[in-house]
Symmetry: C2
């Protein structure tokens, strides 16, 4: 994964090395936490999942029934995910269509992943 | 990644398929959001990063200075991460040592990852 695939405005995530690889700075942690807070809400997780399931693009009308939420509430969640750089919005006629920003969720996954790092739980360093 | 490597109490995460693979149920989303909320705080992200950096185990005394936080505040963040199944706690003499639960962060990363899935942003399904 390179930052070239990133179309969304989340340079804070794209910039971060995996958090288990080296100590995260306060600034990096602040940026990553903003994106994680956008994701860390059950209905927004389901919005991301439903958008992906509908061939990668959906409008509010696709989401209200499966989520059991009103259109204004779904629109609010969509806006939060767009602001966090996770969803892209495209207006077509009456409806706006939302799609996953390619690479955005993968950037978050990459920062959280411990792949290639084996924490040595049995090596305490505090004397 | 199999659930066999999971020592922590977060079966909600371990149980979930990648969220872009199939629509996430309300119950799955609720479980995953709990773990993400524990992670989605700047100081807790830095705690995870610092614990990993100290050969995978650290006590409160290792964390107060780099974080610039009081011991009670750091202890609170550590407890939140233990409760979420992300850190393991082991008492040794005066101090408790904290280490990453093997596989826990990777389980979260695996659910968020879109690896192997290519959302078709140009295929709206709402007529």
């Amino acid at each position: 994964m390179t930052t070239e695939t990133l179309a969304g405005p989340i340079p804070e995530v794209a910039c971060c090395a995996p958090l288990v690889r080296s100590p995260m700075s306060a600034q990096e942690a602040e940026g990553l936490s903003k994106v994680l807070k956008a994701i860390a809400e059950p209905n927004r997780l389901r919005v991301l999942s439903l958008v992906a399931a509908r061939d990668g693009a959906a409008c509010v009308c696709d989401l209200t029934e499966p989520l059991g939420l009103s259109q204004p509430t779904v629109s609010h969640h969509l806006k939060t995910l767009v602001d966090a750089g996770l969803l892209a919005r495209e207006k077509r006629g009456v409806w706006a269509y939302f799609s996953l920003v390619p690479g955005a969720l993968d950037d978050v996954a990459r920062v959280l992943s411990t792949a290639g790092v084996s924490p040595a739980a049995g090596s305490p360093t505090c004397g």
